[in-house]
């Protein structure tokens, strides 16, 4: 049974960066033992129950963007500790340092330029492994800056959300990032540029209650937890168990709050289709290099 020792449970988000060398992984939902290479080929979706395992921003970039097209921007915007916040266990600044895992650019979101199917866009991917993808000043500023860039260059905007909400450790500043990102989006959307919001597991709190729910099109991965309040808070407030499937992607589709459920295998294709739709709608000037301009045709030709 020595091979069993090699079976490791899925890495906790905190450790995901140092991807385990283990060959086998266990699906957290169905318990299926999965061959790592197989899982990777399957875009980290369980082959038995289709559970979409959480990805890092780098993994999303690899899955979605044209090869070599992604360039990080705004990595120089880094966390500080405006409140000198300290909880029962540690200082916020120490927590941030630990979450950076040696890379000072790491934060709750990675932002940059990219191309999908040849179409240039501004892309933000949230990183749950960094303090639950929580939104503090850095996440808000990077996203606001990215939206500004997309507005200046008339590019489409895609944000892949994965976050527990606002970051408590920066107090009121974190709350204000909701207003900041929404205000920037108001400008962006007034300029008739497309914003596609992709929701993954989980998207809750101050992130779902700001930019994530404001996409011109909103798609979500299957089985993701999406909502305002976390299930535990709701359970404690109302003092009863929650219905099964509550606040999951499928529930949101049924209630009318997302446009489509898109499995990870089809995400690139779906985003490409949407980007092409919007770029052909001739609102973004910098797009459609990949699409030859159509010759105007006359009747009878």
């Amino acid at each position: 049974m020595s091979w069993l020792k090699k079976i490791i449970s899925l890495p906790r988000p905190q450790q995901r960066r140092q991807m385990p060398d283990g060959v086998w992984l266990k699906c957290p939902r169905c318990g299926e033992i999965l061959f790592r290479q197989e899982l990777e080929r399957n875009l980290w979706v369980c082959s038995r129950c289709s559970k979409h395992l959480r990805l890092s921003p780098e993994q999303y970039v690899r899955i979605l963007c044209d090869e070599g097209s992604f360039a990080t921007l705004f990595g120089g915007i880094r966390s500080s500790d405006p409140l000198r916040f300290r909880d029962a266990r540690e200082k916020y600044s120490d927590k941030v340092k630990r979450a950076q895992r040696g890379d000072p650019e790491r934060e709750g979101v990675m932002t940059g330029r990219a191309r999908i199917a040849g179409i240039p866009l501004a892309l933000a991917v949230m990183d749950f492994s960094f303090m639950g993808g929580s939104m503090g000043s850095v996440v808000g500023e990077r996203i606001a800056k990215l939206i500004q860039l997309a507005l200046q260059e008339r590019m489409a905007l895609i944000i892949i959300s994965c976050s527990g909400g606002a970051r408590m450790h920066e107090g009121i500043y974190s709350l204000m990032q909701m207003a900041k990102t929404c205000a920037q989006l108001a400008r962006f959307q007034a300029a008739r540029l497309p914003f596609i919001s992709v929701l993954t597991d989980p998207t809750t709190g101050g992130v779902s209650a700001s930019f994530a729910m404001l996409g011109d099109v909103i798609v979500a991965e299957p089985g993701a937890l999406i909502g305002f309040a976390g299930p535990r808070v709701i359970r404690e407030t109302i003092g009863q168990e929650l219905p099964s499937g509550f606040q999951r992607t499928e529930f949101l589709l049924e209630k009318g709050f997302i446009d489509q459920i898109v499995p990870r295998h089809q995400l690139r294709e779906a985003l490409a289709l949407l980007l092409k739709h919007f770029s052909d709608s001739a609102r973004c000037t910098r797009v459609s290099q990949s699409v030859p301009p159509r010759e105007p045709r006359m009747h009878g030709q």
Binding site: I172, L175, Q177, C182, A183, A186, S210, G227, G256, F257
Partner: protein, 326 residues
């Protein structure tokens, strides 16, 4: 909480009662009590200063949640004439936790939104303790658009523990309602004045809080999370709420230092609940002054400055746009 008073203010309340009793007595019997009255009043002043000059953040939280604190409807009564309440989001229902309506401020037509708590259990069940559902925010947004259409200034009164975390709220899109309200408010082409009159509870507060001016009453607070919620996550017990209240730096003077609000509005001696009319007068003067300033701006300037204001919020390395607390 005997008689709806907080423990730390009770000695003061009792002393003031004694003074009032003595005054009544003096009115009947003559002037012998004048000396004693003066001495008691001095004593009350000293006691009031002693209690209110070094309030802890947790005591301020209690004042902000004081069961006698004036609520939105109280301020509406003091500040506006011809108030006409508007109900319903035109889609699902009406939310009594959030008031909206039209009125006149010193003769000028304005629109008003605000959270509304109840004074007793029965009222609180109806008002849901001031915690709105999505239809509340959608009603507020409807009235904001109405204000924009007719060029009326918007006045917003914030006093909520937060947006309601319940099944119906999630089913009807609490997140979407809040997000949309924040975005639309940031682009509204009329002046918006925001007053945090009690609890500023997170996204449920910010949803009607994107203003050209944001004022916080002296003993109000405005926070990303309730002190109890923060304590239960970071200290693993709600019992540590007082510590979380300190760490979060959410009292009115701290918010001013952090640069996220415009002004702290001083409360009457002993707090807004001791003299609601005086508090309303202070708010009224503030409205008059702010509208005079904002009337100078075009709608486009208003929106641009309001958006710039919120875009500048945050503190980070590699470009700081807020202030740190020393």
């Amino acid at each position: 909480m005997p008689g709806g008073w907080l423990e730390f203010e009770l000695p003061l309340v009792q002393l003031e009662q004694r003074i009032r009793d003595l005054q009544t007595l003096a009115g009947k019997q003559g002037p012998d009590v004048a000396d004693e009255l003066r001495s008691l009043e001095r004593k009350a002043d000293r006691l009031r200063r002693k209690i209110f000059s070094k309030l802890t953040p947790w005591e301020r939280v209690k004042l902000a949640r004081h069961p006698r604190r004036p609520y939105t409807l109280d301020y509406i009564q003091h500040l506006f004439t011809d108030f006409f309440e508007l109900h319903g989001d035109r889609a699902f229902g009406d939310d009594a936790a959030l008031i909206a309506g039209l009125g006149r401020f010193e003769g000028r037509p304005v629109a008003v939104v605000g959270h509304q708590k109840g004074r007793n259990t029965k009222e609180n069940l109806r008002r849901n303790f001031g915690m709105p559902h999505p239809e509340g925010y959608r009603k507020a947004l409807r009235v904001m658009k109405l204000a924009e259409k007719f060029g009326n200034p918007m006045l917003s009164f914030i006093d909520t523990p937060g947006a309601y975390p319940g099944i119906g709220a999630e089913e009807r899109g609490q997140s979407e309602a809040i997000a949309r309200s924040i975005r639309e408010m940031s682009a509204l082409k009329v002046p918006i004045l925001v007053f945090v009159t009690g609890e500023g509870g997170s996204g449920g507060a910010l949803a009607i809080g994107v203003g050209d001016r944001v004022y916080v009453l002296e003993y109000s607070f405005y926070s990303v999370i309730s002190p109890e919620g923060c304590a239960s996550i970071l200290w693993k017990t709600r019992e540590k709420a007082a510590q979380a209240a300190e760490a979060l730096k959410f009292t009115a003077p701290e918010l001013l230092k952090l640069g996220v609000i415009d002004q702290v509005l001083p409360e009457p001696p002993g707090g807004a609940h001791r003299d609601g009319a005086a508090m309303a007068r202070t708010i009224g003067e503030t409205i008059r002054g702010a509208l005079a300033e904002l009337d100078e701006l075009t709608p486009e300037q208003l929106v641009e400055r309001r958006q710039d204001r919120f875009l500048s919020m945050g503190v980070f390395d590699g470009g700081t746009s807020g202030k740190e607390i020393e």
